[in-house]
Amino acid sequence: MNRNRALTWCVLGIALAAFVTSCSKTPDYKGKIGVTCMDLTNPFFKLIANVMQEEAAKYGYEVVALSGELDPAKQNNQLSDFVAQGYDAIFLNPVDSKAAGEGVKKAHKAGIPVFTYDVQVTDEKAKDMIVSHIGSDNYQGGLLAGESMMKVTGDQGKIAIITYPEVTSCILRVNGFKDYLKEHDSKLVIVTELSGKGNRSDGYAVATDILTAYPDIVGIFAINDPSGLGAYAAVFKAGKTEQVTIVAFDASPAGKQAVFEKKLYDSPQQFPRKMAKGTVEAFIKYLNGEEVPKKKFIPCAHYYYEDSVNDKSRVAEQW
């Protein structure tokens, strides 16, 4: 008898928890949108998810945001679940541009429209199934970074790039950077290009090694703020803050603050809010039967110290 009682309690407990959680969602939504990104712990994506939720609610849609946790298989499973649950749309930020194609194909076969943001799907069959993609113009942002780097170094000396080759958006930034330098016949010499895995600690480690190998570099371009800030820490430790200038990317809250504190020279801005709103708008247009552009790129903008001084959003630590 005791064992049965224990069994019942356990099950009731689970049921209660699940029920309460599911009940706490307010009714009266017309439908659901499934959102999955590569890593919800990244404030960039968290912000986008939140804004999507706000926007979609205005049109009567509920957003369920999941994290792909950098696991392509997990993300495909999430897509399957969205399909099974009969969601009205899917907003996808792929962990792996090709692998996500499989999930997209499933969604398309079930008639659910898929919109991508920030990172595109590159699988040859699946990419045509995407209704619309919206993202920063990473290539153009790279050009801006190149421009800043040439300006601040006086186009003289050696520089290094801290990149993140697993993510296509970062590859585009680096390409833009290099192309700008080439097109303007820059005399800057890129001595090395290493992966900082997009985070602060790896950026720090890599930058330390770069400074050891090339003690006379004058600039570092990092493909996002975390790796840029990591590089700054290494430069600071080596006592070379006067010698080395860092250009990062994103203009995240941390990046904006760093520009204000003159740790970074420039951090070409992304506009995650625009990305989020843009995705929702694309979906609504689709529902309305309007034509939706296949790709929409939001240009980046410079973010210099001058921009940071009176920037209210920086003070409020917002994007």
């Binding site: 005791n2 099950v11 689970i14 699940a18 392509p72 499973n77 099974a84 692998a99 689709y286």
Partner: protein, 447 residues
């Protein structure tokens, strides 16, 4: 007999209970689709509308509402409704059609549809955009309640998501029954996927014929088997603890996978690759068939062959087994080889499901595999456990993950719940076999 079945496979009832629970919690209004639903509406339209009215049957492409629209269109035409038209596509197509009708000065009498189509903004905002259609009715068949959990597509999704873990759990069950553990399986998934797809790429890539895929798979699986054999040898011959041995192999395999690929994914894979993981030759997915075949084989092996018995004996009392003449070292190496071969196969299936070879898959999978084995009733101290129990354990994990996704529970909450359920399942199992929980509940008794 039933008593024994109950004892051995008690977790089956937990699985049943969970399924019932999620079915109840995911009851949702469903719209009937297909031709039967169409027939329902025909009658209604006959009664309410004139034969000359303009009526549109609308369906969303690739969903069940498509055939519905087609069928209804045919039926209505058959009934003599001459101004019936159909739109099967995306909202834009409907918009263009409405523009057409409006341009020709017609008045739309009704839109007949089903599924999610009524939610299209085109239809919702029709009174604003097309005031001339003010009297237009939107018709849909009556809805019914059915758990989303039990939809065919969802049940297949449950199997699909757990296939890799369940497969590897076969090997892990054997290892754990010998009182060992294999932490390397997650990394071996990546290693096999990467080696296999790299070989496929070198042998022709995108244009390569189907047999190349097979060769790639075999090489990937075999390399894992060799690695596993090495680990088993170290455990058996040098008596190093399995935990440490397989931990070392886990790190080496993962590093190797990243080294081989330079951290990138391998995209140039043959077109035939997805067939294993996603193909459905007989209406049932390949993976389901593979799972069934392998589990039945493994069950028969463990329960009815000598080597199977030896595995139990080695786990139950290694020295007593040795003194009974059992080749203990061989048995130990064998189970680790099987475990790695299974991991290799899992990697092939995952590569097939993702249609790509990446080195960062399978991370943390070993823990889910072990959880499936333990939840399924196998004891970590060795000597007991049932293969089919592991299958049930794997399903329990998959059902819970799927159910929580369906209920829209947040990712991190999901992890907490999953951990709690695993603990609960194991405690329940102990209570069943009269362990600490039972006496804890009985302690209050006085004499």
């Amino acid at each position: 007999m039933t008593r024994k079945l109950l004892n051995d496979y008690g977790m089956f009832f937990v699985l049943l209970l969970l399924s019932v629970l999620f079915s109840v919690l995911t009851l949702k209004e469903q719209m009937p689709e297909g031709s039967a639903a169409a027939a329902q509406l025909v009658e209604q339209i006959n009664n309410e509308f004139k034969k000359s009215d303009i009526i549109l049957t609308v369906g969303a492409v690739n969903t069940g509402s498509g055939p519905f629209a087609e069928a209804l269109f045919k039926d209505l035409r058959g009934e003599g409704f001459s101004n019936v038209d159909k739109v099967v596509g995306i909202p834009r197509d409907l918009r263009l059609k409405l523009d057409d009708i409006s341009a020709q000065g017609g008045v739309l009498a009704a839109i007949a549809t089903t599924g999610d189509v009524p939610k299209w903004l085109v239809i919702e905002l029709m009174p604003e955009k097309y005031p001339e259609f003010s009297g237009c009715k939107v018709l849909a068949p009556k809805s019914y309640m059915w758990p989303v959990f039990l939809k065919r597509s969802n049940l297949l999704a449950i199997v699909d998501r757990i296939v890799v873990i369940a497969l590897i759990a076969i090997g892990m069950t054997m290892v754990i029954i010998t009182a060992g553990i294999d932490l390397s399986v997650g990394s071996l998934i990546a290693l096999s996927a990467v080696i296999g797809t790299l070989l496929m790429k070198k042998m022709g890539g995108l244009q390569a014929p189907g047999w190349v895929v097979l060769v790639g798979f075999l090489v990937g699986i075999l390399s894992c088997g060799i690695v596993g054999g090495l680990g088993g040898f170290i455990v058996a011959r040098f008596k190093v603890a399995p935990f440490i041995t397989t931990l070392g192999i886990m790190m080496m395999a993962r590093g190797l996978a990243f080294m081989i690929t330079g951290g990138f994914s391998i995209y140039q894979v043959p077109r035939a690759l997805p067939w294993l993981g996603q193909g459905r030759p007989l209406g049932i997915p390949n993976t389901v068939v593979l799972l069934a075949v392998l589990y039945v084989t493994a069950h028969i092996f463990m329960a009815h062959t000598r080597l199977g018995r030896y595995i139990y004996a080695v786990g139950g009392n290694k020295e007593a087994a040795r003194l009974s003449g059992i080749p203990v070292k061989f048995v130990v190496v064998f189970v680790y080889v099987i475990s790695s071969l299974a991991a290799g196969l899992g990697g092939c299936i995952q590569a097939s499901q993702l249609n790509t070879g990446t080195p960062n898959i399978g991370i943390m999978y070993e823990l889910y595999v072990i959880a499936a084995v333990v939840v399924g009733g196998t004891s970590l101290s060795g000597g007991s456990g049932r293969i089919l129990g592991t299958l049930i354990g794997a399903f329990i994990i998959s059902v819970i993950q799927n159910g929580m996704n369906l209920l829209g529970i947040e990712s991190y909450t999901q992890q907490v719940v999953l951990g709690a359920v695993i603990l609960g399942a194991v405690l329940l199992d102990k209570a069943r076999s009269g362990g600490g929980l039972l006496t804890f509940l009985q302690k209050k008794k006085k004499y």
